[in-house]
Subunit: 214 residues, 2 copies
């Protein structure tokens, strides 16, 4: 059986849950409690020396890390329904939109970084929140422009079916809402996220639906 | 003609230069001076609303963004020599190693983030340097473990030819050296980076070899 080591509120685990659901693949969940520090325990470090989630353990014993690499693996092994369009230029666009979130927003706002700001740099709550929102707005402003300007956009980030870009977008929108970022300047992002969240694959992947939600 | 909008010291542009060189593709360079703020100028924002480099303009007029998406595009359009191995599990490993650098280290240590630390959070030079090195060590320690533990490693990150993982690793090593990070605990990383840097494709992509180097 495929097992996902994740955490209900981890954006990266959330992405993999969406991808697995879109592909219609069954999986067990093995929660790793990031707030309790279980990712730094021996058991999890044996799975992933960086102490991060998600880790996807496949039924043939592979341990895959990095959410986008996992999604690409799922795409290659289970091509239908496709998470990437057919043509290289369109695939590049989808991957770039996904990476705008995964490389430019999320890494700056994840738990270990916020902890460093507070613990090592003595940043107060207001400055931590300002940091969080700053990187969301930097990224979302650019993403909104790209989605509005580029012909490839549709009901979803690319065309009218969900792709890897939506898989990255929805967890980032969830997190932005959690930190009460004002998203009123991003109507296209909100509409696309709304369309995606209406799908069962996204709904079942939502943090509040997970067994470890608290 | 293919044109790369980049900056000699940008890690992400450096990755794309290596990929283009490995594929044997000719390209013009159009430098965007990040220190002078040219990435925020109208001309560059028209190319990329996020004001980042690299942007690769192809000879059929596509404007591609995000270095890993650009590398995957080059791989799909010019499959030989391959930057990714053949089998999905190996491809997932290479992509995960690449993303360990591109999603976990580099985003935290790039120029706009260091500027925010100093400008908005009033962080001093020593704390900025400690921040920089902290994320390099977090990432490299995990990477060193993965490279040492996993059977796929060879003279390069995966096997004995350069892949997308080495394309990400070498610019990160260059940057770590520039910020005088102590890399003595990472012999495998250093050996692989040395092997890669001995290749002409990597050598010609090095920051000091670029027309805008200063």
């Amino acid at each position: 059986m495929t097992t996902l080591y994740g955490y209900f509120r981890s954006s990266a685990a959330y992405r993999v849950r969406i991808a697995l659901n879109l592909k219609g693949l069954a999986y067990d969940q093995a929660p790793v409690n990031l707030v309790k520090g279980e990712q730094r325990g021996e058991a999890h470090l044996a799975r992933h020396p960086q102490g991060l989630v998600p880790v996807l353990e496949t039924d043939d014993g592979l341990r895959l890390t990095q959410s986008l690499a996992i999604c690409e693996y799922l795409e290659e092994c289970h091509p239908t329904p496709a998470l990437l369009p057919e043509h290289p230029a369109d695939r590049a666009r989808v991957r770039a939109l996904a990476q705008l979130v995964a490389c430019e927003i999320h890494p700056l706002d994840n738990l270990r970084v916020l902890k460093y700001l507070v613990g090592e740099l003595g940043v107060d709550d207001a400055a931590k929140l300002a940091w969080y929102r700053h990187w969301v707005h930097e990224g979302f402003a650019a993403l909104e422009t790209q989605l509005s300007r580029e012909a490839g956009s549709g009901e979803f980030c690319h065309g009218d079916t969900p792709t890897l870009a939506d898989i990255c977008l929805v967890p980032q929108v969830f997190n932005a809402e959690r930190f009460e970022c004002d998203l009123s300047a991003y109507p296209r992002i909100r509409r696309i996220a709304g369309n995606a969240r209406a799908l069962e694959a996204f709904r079942k992947a939502a943090p509040e639906e997970q067994p470890d939600a608290s």
